[in-house]
């Protein structure tokens, strides 16, 4: 067989190989030890040097051609096989993904962080105190002796009397933290004290447990003007409005003197409240200059230091800011509510990134 014929036939076989196995058989049949091309080598010995030179070169050329053809065919077969596989491997991408829990942060705690961000920027530390309090911290030291009428209005939860006649209470406000802070820390003091508080009251707008935040500043110069400024700046930052009108009204709390209640401007539309517009007023907090008796009870000298305190409902401002209608639902753990009013885990309030 001439080399031309061999080449034609071998390349035809390569082209005809239907898969990699057939291609390998063609390769062995042509280039294997006993392959058709290898067999041609045996004839070289009987040739003249010139003949041998020409034939050898032609044979090598043929070998290279076939080798290359096999490689090309091999790649094309692999591509074909892959394309066939990929054509089989389709999915319906509209099918649902694997379930992952969608966690949330409770609005009270989100607002806790918002409040801490704002006051933290002004250098207020976060103080805490026990929920189970004694009369001294919850009442006496706050200028509310046992016979004080305001003490009756606190709807206090009591624990059972102890053998010594004393009885503990669930703190009715966060104000005992004022006392604990002043007793353990020397002025200047700047703290807020957010936390749970308790009153034996339960109706449409009251729950036996609720969340308050206390604020306390004690130094030598802080006065009512500073108090007003802080509350105004807080409200603008918290409610994320450029301006908000506030109403400062004289009031009375046993633990402050002078005392002040604060209303914030709002509008009501379709049962939704909007802060910073409209002509309605909403009471949001009580405040005042710390009463001299409170400072004395905490071991401070009211002739040397002075300062302000305020108390605000965290649940209440959360309701106002986020349009949550019912306080009782805060503590009901209804998943529908938690998922609707809750916040995503990475939605961390910061002053730089925004609070809400």
């Amino acid at each position: 067989m001439s080399l031309e014929t061999l080449e034609r036939e071998t390349l035809a076989q390569v082209d005809a190989a239907a898969d990699e196995a057939a291609l390998e058989a063609v390769r062995v049949a042509a280039l294997g030890k006993k392959g058709t091309i290898s067999e041609q080598m045996k004839g070289l010995g009987a040739m003249s040097p010139d003949e041998r030179k020409n034939f050898g070169a032609a044979l090598n050329l043929l070998k290279d051609k076939v080798t290359e053809a096999i490689a090309t065919r091999k790649a094309s077969l692999a591509d074909k096989a892959l394309n066939e596989r990929l054509a089989r491997e389709t999915v319906d991408v509209t099918l649902p993904v694997r379930g992952e829990g969608r966690g949330t942060i409770h609005p009270v705690n989100q607002v806790w962080e918002e409040i801490v961000q704002i006051f933290g920027d002004l250098g207020f530390a976060v103080a805490e105190g026990p929920h189970i309090e004694d009369d001294f911290h919850n009442f006496d030291a706050l200028n509310m002796p046992p016979e004080h009428p305001a003490r009756q209005e606190h709807d206090t939860f009591y624990f059972n009397e102890k053998p010594d006649g004393s009885r503990l209470v669930l703190r009715t406000h966060t104000s005992p933290v004022q006392i604990r802070t002043m007793k353990t820390q020397a002025p200047p003091i700047r703290i807020i004290a957010p936390g749970r508080t308790f009153r034996s009251d339960s109706d449409m707008t009251h729950t036996p447990m609720f969340n308050q935040v206390e604020g306390l500043v004690i130094d030598e110069t802080t006065h009512m003007g500073h108090l007003k400024w802080v509350l105004h700046e807080f409200c603008k930052a918290f409610f994320e409005v450029n301006e908000v009108r506030m109403r400062f009204r004289a009031s009375h709390f046993p633990f402050t003197e002078p005392s002040m209640e604060v209303d914030i401007q709002c509008s009501w539309k379709d049962g939704q409240v909007k802060i910073g517009e409209g002509d309605s007023w909403l009471e949001i907090l009580g405040s005042g200059m710390v009463h001299p008796n409170v400072m004395k009870a905490s071991g401070l000298d009211p002739a040397k230091v002075q300062g302000f305190a305020f108390g605000m409902g965290i649940d209440r401002v959360a309701m106002l800011k986020y349009g949550i209608p019912d306080l009782r639902a805060f503590f009901d753990s209804d998943l529908r509510w938690l998922r609707h009013y809750g916040f995503r885990s990475l939605n961390v309030p910061t002053l730089a990134g925004g609070l809400s």
């Binding site: 966690g103 949330t104 705690n109 006065h223 009512m224 109403r247 004289a250 961390v348």
Partner: protein, 797 residues
């Protein structure tokens, strides 16, 4: 405290509008809760004259009336039995909205006769519940007169919330004084009469208190008035009392109520004919009883002040009078009582007896003791004016208690404390207008509060008086200094952990809840609580009796509620406090979480997996890791509190005394008791117990990396069932902590005969050069030997 505008004007000469007065009250600390002005509400209703009222031609119970209205004569069909010829009525003409229904009135044909207007009842105008007939307007009002005017309802009523420190503002005169100081009018001088007595009172008064308790009732002013004629009080007085929600009773009683509200001076009138002998103010005796004016019988106790005659208590001092000696229409002789009762004792007595009265409300806040004789004079004069009769000489026992005290107001103090720039002269003017006796002294003024201001007890109170009258809105904002140009961190490590924990759990799919800090006693006991000292003495419901010993019960209760609503496969968490005792140290901050039902729900790609202890363990480890605690520093032991499944729960601890977290499946019995469908995997971590991070500074330790590839080898050991995976891991790692960098159980297979096969993947990290086969074989042999020695296990063939 309620009052009307015209009543206020008895004491305040003012041209201020209702809105101006309301704004003034609000600013000075007398919060206006409500202003009811019927003038607006009744603007569409006017007086009409019934010219003729006859029987309806087609109905026995209806009347056909011819009525003259401001829009001409109308024919009106009316069902009211009191519709009669000649009466004046309040008419609603077509197009007017009827308050009670909100419907617009339109003419209608009733039983064949057209009714062109409607005569209204009090209920239809929402003035009262009265609906037995139409309003029968009294007085000679011309047709077309506005209804509010003809009905005496054109006097706006103010409802003011008076804070506990202001007993003086529980009388209208005190409110007028504040408004005058504010500049909203001139306070009219008190018309204090001095009624001449013509005879000696046949009833004498004695104060009889144990030594030391005289202040229970230090003063009693009495007056005997004979020959009175009791009956209805005059219309003007009734109208005022009705306007503030009081029911007129009789002239004598109405006078005492009137003076209570006008001057914050509660009084009592006894029917002198029913008083036996003399009157004594004293403490009640054990077992004494009284039938009070509220028709209830009360058993009194020593320590309660009573006004008694020779037969027994006739009134509870400062709180309520008694039925036997009360005034009636037949009363001819009365004995008037104006006394001063100690606020603290009055409050205590009122609380114990459970009586709330206008008198108690004022006495317990501290009325003006110096006003006692004045009040008695005003009342005597009013009785003589309205009921006639003749007054005795006053009977006075005791004397006005001395309330005099002096405080200095420094000129600088209003600015220093209040932040208010108020000229000194204005400060003095305000204090004087409020009744303070002010004497200027060097650098300030010495101020004596008036007897009606028991709340003023220091310089800060003087500052408050000036600030509230000037108006807090006039205090300028004063910027606080920033302690640092760039704010410094303020949170404690525990507070940071609290936030980290919350968000870690939310990222792991938990919906964060905030549940009550209390729970039912039965639940408290189930979760290791229920101690006596953690039970509320005055719980408001049987569901909220005990402080929670753990976060889990309330989360499980929440799970039950959500399951009942059709939810399943959810995760609930809470970060909050639980209570091991009633001392501050017993309150710990915890993180709790529960996962209910399916951890992986059915899905087209694969099968359902139910939650198990390892979900809860993973949650714990994630939280602890987020809080900076390495899992390697924790021991895991297979014991947990009783509310967990005993075989599928564990504890993460740093030594037996420091149990940081529990995790596992909740005990089936607990689930059944709480009506929660299982399984539930739960955990609770005590965040307080996580040790503070040791690292100081921000730099991390240097990272030492090897260029050499690590080698991994698998071993399967057959061990007793009792052997824990951790023992294998510990033994394997113990061979060479530097070289054996990791050992992890990746397969567990139960065999027969109480044996288990545990497969362990061990990672070996060469240090200086790659391992030779011989070195790997040697290390493997040592690992097998160590595991065998530690656990008795054998390498599986």
């Amino acid at each position: 405290m309620k009052f009307t505008l015209s009543w206020l004007k008895d004491h305040l000469d003012t041209s201020a509008t209702v809105d101006e007065i309301a704004a003034g009250l609000l600013g000075i600390g007398l919060e206006v809760e409500e202003i009811s002005d019927k003038t607006k509400a009744l603007a569409a209703f006017t007086v009409a004259h019934v010219q003729k009222a006859e029987k309806h031609p087609n109905a026995d119970k209806l009347r056909l009336c011819v009525v003259e209205t401001k829009d001409g004569v109308k024919q009106v069909v009316c069902g009211a039995p009191n519709a009669r010829t000649g009466m004046k009525a309040i008419i609603a003409l077509p197009g007017v909205t009827i308050p009670v229904t909100g419907a617009v009135f339109a003419p209608a044909t009733i039983r064949g006769v057209e009714s062109q207007a409607m005569m209204c009842s009090e209920r239809e105008l929402m003035l009262s519940d009265e609906h037995d007939g139409i309003i029968d307007v009294q007085g000679d009002w011309p047709v077309g007169t506005p209804a509010a005017q003809a009905l005496g309802l054109d006097d706006p009523m103010f409802y003011v919330k008076v804070t506990a420190n202001r007993p003086d503002a529980l009388g209208l005169y005190g409110i007028a004084r504040d408004l005058a100081a504010k500049g909203l009018g001139t306070l009219k001088p008190l018309a204090a009469p001095s009624v001449k007595g013509t005879f000696d009172s046949p009833i004498g008064v004695t104060l009889d208190f144990p030594k030391g308790d005289e202040k229970a009732c230090p003063l009693f002013v009495g007056r005997y008035i004979r020959g009175v004629k009791n009956g209805p009080s005059p219309a003007w007085m009734q109208q005022r009392l009705k306007a503030i929600g009081l029911r007129p009773i009789s002239a004598l009683v109405d006078i005492t109520n009137y003076i209570t509200f006008a001057y914050a001076r509660p009084l009592h009138v006894f029917d002198a004919g029913k008083v036996h002998g003399n009157i004594t103010a004293r403490f009640a005796r054990e077992g004494e009883t009284i039938t009070a004016l509220d028709n209830k019988s009360y058993t009194l106790a020593p320590g309660m002040t009573v006004i008694a005659d020779e037969k027994g208590p006739e009134a509870v001092g400062g709180i309520i009078g008694g039925i036997p000696s009360c005034c009636t229409d037949g009363t001819v002789d009365v004995f008037l009582e104006a006394a001063y009762f100690d606020p603290v004792r009055t409050a205590a007595t009122g609380r114990k007896l459970g009586i709330n009265s206008d008198a108690r409300y004022r006495f317990e806040r501290g009325i003006d003791p110096a006003f006692t004789p004045v009040g008695a004079e005003i009342a005597t004069q009013m009785i003589l004016d309205l009921c006639g009769g003749e007054a005795s000489h006053p009977v006075i026992a005791g004397k006005v208690p001395d309330t005099k005290r002096t405080f200095t107001l420094r000129k600088t103090r209003v600015k220093q404390l209040g932040g208010l720039d108020c000229p000194w002269a204005d400060q003095l003017r305000i204090l004087r207008a409020l009744g303070f006796t002010v004497t200027e002294a060097a650098g300030g003024a010495s101020c004596i509060p008036p007897s009606w201001r028991p709340d003023v007890n220091g310089e800060a109170d003087l500052v408050e008086e000036i600030c509230r009258i000037v108006g807090l809105e006039n205090i300028p904002f004063a910027e606080m200094t920033r302690p640092h140009a760039v704010a410094r961190p303020v949170l404690t490590p525990l507070q940071r952990r609290m936030l980290t924990t919350r968000r870690t759990l939310a990222a792991r799919g938990f919906n964060e809840a905030v549940t009550y800090a209390f729970l039912p006693h039965s639940l408290a006991e189930m979760f290791g609580g229920g101690q006596k000292e953690l039970q509320l003495a005055n719980a408001i419901s049987s569901e909220l009796t005990d402080m929670r010993p753990s976060l889990l019960p309330n989360l499980l209760a929440a799970a039950a509620r959500n399951l009942a609503r059709g939810h399943a496969g959810f995760a609930l968490s809470e970060v909050g406090h639980a209570y091991a005792g009633d001392q501050p140290k017993d309150e710990t901050l915890r993180a709790g979480g529960i996962r209910q039902g399916e951890a992986v729900s059915r899905q087209w790609q694969g099968g359902v997996r139910l939650v198990d202890a390892f979900d809860a363990k993973a949650d714990c480890l994630a939280v602890l890791d987020a809080c900076g605690m390495a899992a390697s520093t924790l021991q895991v032991v297979n014991t947990a509190p009783a509310w967990f499944h005993p075989g599928r729960s564990g504890t993460l601890q740093m030594g037996p005394q420091n149990k940081i977290a529990h995790f596992g499946e909740i005990h089936p019995k607990i689930l059944a008791a709480m009506d929660v469908k299982g399984p539930v995997a739960a955990f609770e971590i005590v965040l307080n117990l996580i040790p503070a991070p040791r690292q100081k500074g921000t730099a991390r330790p240097a990272l030492v990396l090897s260029d050499l590839m690590s080698v991994s080898r698998d071993f399967a050991f057959v061990v007793d069932d009792k052997v824990q995976a951790a023992e294998l891991v510990k033994a394997a790692r113990g061979v060479d902590k530097v070289t054996v960098t990791e050992a992890q159980v990746f397969d567990v297979f139960k065999l027969a005969d109480g044996k288990t096969s545990l497969a362990l993947e061990v990672t070996l990290q060469p240090r200086d050069k790659t391992f030779t086969d011989e070195e790997i074989d040697a290390l493997s042999a040592r690992i097998v030997a160590a595991v065998t020695k530690a656990t008795g296990g054998t390498l599986r063939g």
